[in-house]
């Protein structure tokens, strides 16, 4: 169940009283203000809102890429806001799968090597890593593109490689920052189908930032961020969507 009231006790991701303030010159810019959020495993949440509303900042805080000014983020029982930088890096490697708008693949590495990157931080053997990579690439339908470099792939394929990279280490949740923002409609649909499959078939938890209402509709719930506050929550009419408070 997804909630923005901060009243869930056992959700996978618990955000409580999250504030993020940046200082620009003499001015304090409050990007997020007292934000609460609960997300359970298998949920698919879309965050929408105008530019500067704090969507990406929220995603960065959830993914341990940035630290809040106030408040807490707890994932699977781990309170990440007080972790050291080193522990946070390790936590990120174990729990978060990132999917970026521009795919962020390493151009000089093949699809296989790109997908293998998160596994290099584990104790898996070379053969085990290879098996995991093949599985991830099979899930995204790119088993035949393993030895291709990013420049040899289409945008949609690149994003699917990025999704394979995000899921290969079986993270606790996926964070997607405008995953279809750089794709044409057909490729965007393919990517969204893939994300939906990951949620429905593999019970992945996905939190996604998007500007595209068509893309947001695929999520179980769309939350709107305006001036740093989650002001609106709209339940998808889909029967599969969970209860919304």
């Amino acid at each position: 169940m997804i909630s923005v009231n901060g009243n869930q006790a056992n959700s996978l991701i618990q955000v409580r009283g999250l504030d993020k303030t940046y200082r620009r010159g003499n001015e304090d810019i409050h990007v997020l203000q007292g934000l609460n959020l609960d997300v359970d495993q298998g949920d698919f949440v879309a965050f929408m809102g105008p530019s500067g509303s704090g969507k990406t900042t929220l995603l960065n805080l959830l993914g341990g890429l940035d630290l809040p000014t106030r408040g807490s983020v707890t994932v699977a029982g781990d309170e990440i806001t007080h972790m050291s930088r080193r522990r946070l890096t390790q936590w990120r490697a174990r729990h978060v799968g990132f999917i970026f708008q521009m795919y962020n693949l390493i151009p000089v590495l093949t699809a296989l090597q790109n997908v293998e990157l998160p596994l290099l931080l584990t104790r898996l053997s070379r053969a085990e890593r290879r098996r995991h990579v093949e599985t991830a690439l099979a899930i995204v339908g790119l088993s035949d593109r393993m030895q291709h470099f990013p420049r040899q792939l289409s945008g949609g394929q690149e994003q699917r490689v990025a999704i394979a990279r995000a899921i290969v280490a079986d993270p606790t949740f996926l964070l997607c920052d405008e995953p279809t923002g750089d794709l044409d409609r057909k490729s965007a649909d393919e990517v969204m189908d893939l994300l939906q499959r990951l949620v429905n078939e593999h019970r992945k938890t996905v939190l996604m930032v998007t500007h595209d209402p068509l893309v947001a509709r695929i999520a179980k719930l769309t939350l709107h961020l305006e001036k740093g506050v989650l002001v609106e929550a709209g339940a998808r009419q889909d029967a599969a969507a969970g209860a919304v408070s």
């Binding site: 990406t56 900042t57 960065n60 993914g63 890429l65 940035d66 930088r85 080193r86 890096t89 390790q90 990120r92 490697a93 174990r94 990132f98 970026f100 521009m102 962020n104 390493i106 151009p107 000089v108 590495l109 090597q113 990157l117 998160p118 290099l120 931080l121 990279r165």
Partner: protein, 428 residues
């Protein structure tokens, strides 16, 4: 008092800073070289990145390679000069000069003293019982260089007829040895190749005498190869020196181990006011001024070039990091630590430096054995010597390149690793 304290404090701080820098360099080199085993970022990432950015990589490589080339060339020059002079001495020979003389040019030893010396213990004798001692006179004469036609000082050495039994590494390559009492000379092979009019059969004019070149000798690349040898007594007359005074005597010992016994016998004899040195030590000392000069001057040139090369490497690595800001931020987001990023970029920088070091060494390798000449500050005469590039010098060149690689790569690597990930991702 306060000034002294401040000076001491400054000195201590400078020493600490130097130690820190040394640790940083050594640590950086070790960490960078071990990066494939210590870090998680695959090295194929670095190899391929260098290939993709081949132009800037090439510029950095050329900068470092040039510096390494100059560095190794200068060291090989100094090494060659040192080796040439050291080769002139034999450990089984002792050089006897007047006490207080710093070189043969300033020496003076009477025939009476030489007679006493040759009876001392440790002096080797021929089977016929003659002592193996050569009393010598040295002078410099102007002879034109083949290359430029300008006069240069050439050392002419008056020796005893038995000199080849004392300096056993000297071999006659052409012709014959001079005949004692005649105006004949034998010429070192480097002298033959460097100065005009010294071919076998040529006549040489100096000191009002016409000297006939009757032989060419090979002194194994030592400083003697740049000399002209003749009868010591005749040279002494020509140079208008007192007839019974020589400048040095070289004694062949029964064995190198006999040196101390021989030396003690000379220095404890109240009739003699002489100094004894192993011949090899004498020539090593002779080379020190010039070797130091070449090393310091060469080192300075290499240092100045190194500063430029370090900035070149720094610039390349900065550009690489700036171009790959997205990749670095992505790696950090995926869970690669700052340490992994530092190691990866250090490895890349060292890779550039290593290739450049090898290239620089290869570039100067053809200089090995190439003969040049310079003025020996002790004898004021021209000495021909060859660049000597040894494995040690090449290793030093590669190590120098690695130092430049660390200095050029460490700062950008740390900068890349410390950049906040969220900020780096946002600015892309």
């Amino acid at each position: 008092m306060l000034l002294k304290l401040l000076f001491g404090l400054g000195l201590a701080l400078a020493a600490a800073a130097a130690l820190l820098l040394l640790l940083l360099i050594v640590g950086g080199i070790l960490a960078g070289l071990l990066a494939p085993f210590l870090g998680a970022v695959p090295v194929s990432y670095n190899f391929r990145s260098l290939r993709v950015r081949w132009a800037s990589t090439l510029v950095a490589i050329l900068g470092i390679a040039g510096t390494v080339g100059v560095f190794v060339a200068m060291l090989s020059l100094a090494h060659g000069f040192h080796a040439t002079l050291v080769a002139s001495g034999s450990p089984g020979n002792a050089l006897v000069m007047r006490a207080g003389s710093t070189s043969e040019m300033m020496g003076g030893i009477t025939l009476d003293s030489i007679r006493i010396v040759q009876d001392k213990p440790g002096v080797a004798h021929t089977p016929a019982g003659a002592p193996l001692v050569t009393q010598e006179v040295v002078g410099v004469i102007p002879i034109p260089l083949i290359r430029t036609g300008t006069d240069t000082n050439v050392q002419v050495r008056g020796v005893s007829a038995n000199v080849l039994q004392i300096r056993k590494f000297v071999q006659l390559a052409q012709g014959r040895m001079f005949t004692p009492g005649l105006d004949e000379v034998v010429v070192g092979k480097n002298a033959l190749q460097t100065y005009r009019g010294l071919a076998l059969g040529d006549t040489l004019h100096f000191g009002g005498v016409r000297w006939k070149v009757v032989g060419i000798f090979n002194a194994g690349g030592s400083a003697f190869d740049s000399e002209i040898w003749c009868d010591a007594r005749i040279l002494s007359q020509v140079l208008q020196r007192p007839p019974d005074i020589f400048q040095s005597a070289t004694v062949h010992l029964t064995s190198p181990a006999a040196f101390q016994r021989f030396k003690d016998a000379i220095t404890s004899d109240p009739r003699l006011n002489l100094e004894v040195e192993r011949e090899v030590d004498y020539y090593a000392n002779q080379s020190s001024t010039m070797t130091r000069l070449i090393t310091v001057l060469g080192g300075l040139v290499a240092l100045i070039m190194a500063v430029g090369a370090v900035f070149g490497a720094l610039n390349t690595m900065m550009a690489a990091i700036s171009e790959r800001g997205r990749e670095i931020a992505t790696l950090r987001a995926l869970g690669f630590s700052s340490w992994n990023v530092v190691l990866s970029f250090l490895f890349e920088s060292l890779l550039i430096a290593f290739i450049a070091g090898l290239l620089g060494c290869l570039a100067v390798l053809p200089l090995n054995g190439w003969t040049t000449s310079t003025m020996n500050m002790q004898s004021f005469s021209n000495v021909a010597f060859a660049f000597q590039i040894t494995f040690g010098l090449l290793s030093l060149g590669v190590a120098f390149a690695l130092v430049m690689g660390v200095l050029g790569g460490l700062l950008p690597a740390v900068r890349a690793a410390r950049r906040p990930v969220a900020l780096a991702l946002r600015e892309l």
